[in-house]
Symmetry: C2
Subunit: 501 residues, 2 copies
């Protein structure tokens, strides 16, 4: 076979995989947004069949022969093509190790699990979700051992979301955070609390939706290619390629800041996805390279920019336009102080920047224990509540606000959580680097995201999955990853906010 | 091969086809509801690939061998299996005659066309849509000649929506309607007009949505398996099987009756789809058998029941609950008279029961002429406006309210329109038959659709595509189809409403 023909087939294979991916992502998006309550099994049937077709396509003789041929001559390929072959070959080799019937059954289980989790969360009924979660943990462990029999299964899961991440790296990273943040949280706890009464009141969902759209516009999101919907748990998904991205949010009518920062967070994910170079569309290089880098973007916009004084000052008039009565008598600085109030709390997605990492550590510790067999799934609620008491000093009143709060486990996202904390730390270091060439505060003050987005596009977004996360970061930063950028940022910002000495 | 094995494969084939159908229907639903404006090409790419996969599945060697084997022994199969083989064999034989690249290109064209039509309608710009519509008519004619070279292409198109329908049947049917309805319309035109001021005012979309949900409930629609969304042009779609049906509507804030009757109309389609026997799920027998029968159900609920005095009286308090100020001073009888006002008008979907068939005749005449080559697509606006002047005596002020008003042509639905008029006539005869065993007016008066729905389920819904439309109708009616049931119904109802002599 000529290389040219093989390369043409390589592109066609990826286009087909993108089409299956598009259909399956849309089925899941529909399930989370507008699908009627009783339709999950019907969707599960279709997802099972499509994932089986995708499996047959990815692991079929033709595909294996094609990739074997291209892998043999990868030194002659251009870097993009070589990376496509590398990524496809890796995922196919792993997929081949999972028996097809188990792969398909797991897809179907996850669809049902998400539905069951939603009901369980609504009714504070962990027992309902427990057998599903047991199967999920058991399957993740089994699949990990199929794919990497010589590796610890949880290390394998961590690496799925951040290439190269292990328990050892996590333990080291979290110990730095713990050493610096525990004293900071303690000092803040003794300081005078920041008032946040401007966030409380009645904020109708329709007005919050108008604010969501206004926020997306301030961030420079291309609204012709990015939609907004409502779901129980906010998320971002790309449909087929970076030409169609959807973000979701959840409106609480008694507090508009929750959805506001969800939208900015998911908007950061969307900007990253939308920013892939067009030449990467319909290939495995399209979209974000890892969850850690993804969270570096989402938490960059949410916190590093979104909770800064210049940004809050810029959007304050837009917020007042949506809630003219509710915001009467408050200033931009009041709002800025309110959205930066630090309090040990129950819900991760509502947590402030400082205590946030503690929420992640709880999940990391629990996943590590369940995956090693040291903790049974049925004992998770109790273990969860104990760690919240230990790390954050608070009592968990219900599983709805405790172990059932996040959707991640219901869709099989074991190993996902550490990337949130890692992303925050990546983001702080990226911002320091960006400040060398961009006057970020001035941009935010005038509501001009173009120079900020251009920097992120140049250094992060456009590359899609061309580089491994570590390499992408090294290229962008010009120095090794260092979590103290993040801890320094937090200490400096919150010392000022809380007048700490 | 054993029959048992072949029959197992037959079921698997249909499950796969249902899964592809589910994915493609959802992509189209997403395009019409929540997708961002710039994402049509991305969706078109995925639809092209999925339709290609579906084509390969349906026409592949394995499938053809399977169906050939089963077709040879069809006398030994139970009636359901025999009908599955018949329907699949028919559609595959036709599909095989269309070259795959043309089939795929057409799927992609239709996705783009729908997007272009939407823009063209919005901007009153027929010239924008014209080249797409030319390609659609040209492709429909070409495909018809591939599939049935000995048949008139427009007859072929008509038969796609109603098995056995031809220009001759349509001409005869419409001549009966014309003979009876033209004099009726003339008499009504000379009578004192019914006031409809209770329909006019300001009706916020959110309140109309609440009414939509209330109406769906009155009709006995299973809300766990039927969703409601908003689109430019209302439609009903089934996703994968009758376990997941979606209806859509469009809210005009100056007139709530438009959406109200759209919802009841689409709700009728939904009831039919939802009512397939569960044993038919994931087979080609699932869902409605033809557009004529489908419209017999949708227009049955919309007009024969929905615009009757007992039903309007029953829902009047629900309407008042949604619009307490707007409905002040009006009675149920005022509303009943208003929603039955007869006026020659521009928009088919807003037309009253009596003039409705005239709108259909316009489209039928134009399709017939374009398909025969007697009329060029570019001349459609002018021809449309002339026929509206001739049939309804009104001037068409813009293509938005004229030739661009319906979405059907943009999705390739040439030959679809006559089934609307046919369905109305089927419905009137079905109602007469139902009245022999069900006290329909008493049911409507107390808002109890159960006996009505049970009759339709027994005679129509449960059978899915098991019988051809003509056979289904003959079984339900016990006598041949007779359009004078419909004309008698209209003459009797409107003579009373307009006090005609």
């Amino acid at each position: 076979m000529e290389h040219a023909q093989a390369l043409e087939q390589l592109m066609q294979l990826q286009q087909k995989m993108s089409a299956f991916g598009h259909a399956m992502a849309l089925l899941q998006f529909d399930g989370g947004t507008t699908a009627p309550a009783g339709t999950a099994a019907n969707r599960g049937q279709t997802l099972a069949i499509l994932s089986q077709e995708e499996y047959l396509l990815a692991t079929g003789e033709q595909t294996v022969a094609l990739l074997t041929e291209l892998d043999a001559c990868k030194d002659e390929l251009d870097p993009k093509k070589a990376r496509m072959v590398e990524l496809l070959y890796k995922s196919i080799r792993e997929m081949q190790k999972i028996p097809m019937d188990e792969y398909v059954a797991y897809s179907q289980l996850l669809v049902e699990s998400e539905e069951v989790w939603r009901t369980a969360k609504q009714n504070n009924d962990f027992a309902l979700f427990c057998p599903y979660l047991e199967k999920i943990f058991e399957t993740e462990r089994r699949f990990a051992l199929y794919c990497a029999p010589d590796m610890d299964p949880y290390d394998y899961c961590l690496g799925k979301y951040e290439d190269g991440l292990t328990r050892q790296t996590c333990d080291e990273f979290f110990s730095v955070l713990r050493a610096r943040l525990v004293p900071l949280i303690a000092k803040i706890g003794q300081a005078e609390q920041l008032p946040d009464d401007c966030l409380h009141g009645h904020f109708p969902a329709a007005d919050q939706e108008a604010l969501s759209l206004a926020l997306m516009e301030t961030m420079g999101i291309d609204m012709a290619h990015c939609g907004l919907a409502t779901t129980e748990h906010p998320f971002t998904t790309s449909l087929g390629s970076h030409f169609d991205v959807r973000i979701t949010t959840h409106y609480y009518e008694d507090n508009f800041a929750s959805s506001m920062y969800s939208v900015i967070h998911e908007g950061g994910h969307a900007l990253y996805d939308l920013g892939s170079d067009d030449s990467l569309a319909y290939t495995v290089l399209d979209g974000g390279v890892s969850m850690g880098i993804h969270e570096s973007q989402s938490r960059f916009y949410e916190n590093l920019l979104g909770r800064s004084l210049p940004y809050v000052t810029h959007v304050f008039p837009k917020i007042c336009a949506c809630f003219p009565e509710q915001m009467q008598g408050y200033t931009a600085t009041d709002l800025w102080r309110a959205v930066n109030r630090v309090t040990p709390s129950l819900i991760r997605t509502e947590a402030d920047e400082v205590t946030y990492a503690m929420h992640v550590m709880v999940r990391y510790e629990l996943e590590k224990q369940v995956m090693s067999g040291a903790l049974a799934v049925k004992d998770l609620p109790n273990a969860w509540n104990n760690l919240y008491r230990e790390y954050l000093g608070i009592e968990v009143p219900s599983d709805t606000e405790g172990v059932l709060q996040d959707s991640h486990w219901s869709f099989g996202g074991i190993g996902y959580f550490p990337s949130y904390a890692l992303g925050s730390a990546y983001g702080a270091q990226l911002l320091a680097k960006m400040r060398e060439s961009v006057d970020v505060d001035a941009c935010l003050a005038r509501g001009d995201f173009a120079p900020i987005n251009a920097w992120n596009r140049e250094h992060i977004w456009q590359h899609g999955c061309l580089y491994k996360p570590g390499e992408l970061l090294a290229r962008a930063l010009g120095e090794p990853f260092d979590p103290t950028y993040f801890t320094n940022y937090l200490e400096s910002k919150y010392s000022e906010l809380y007048s700490l000495t």
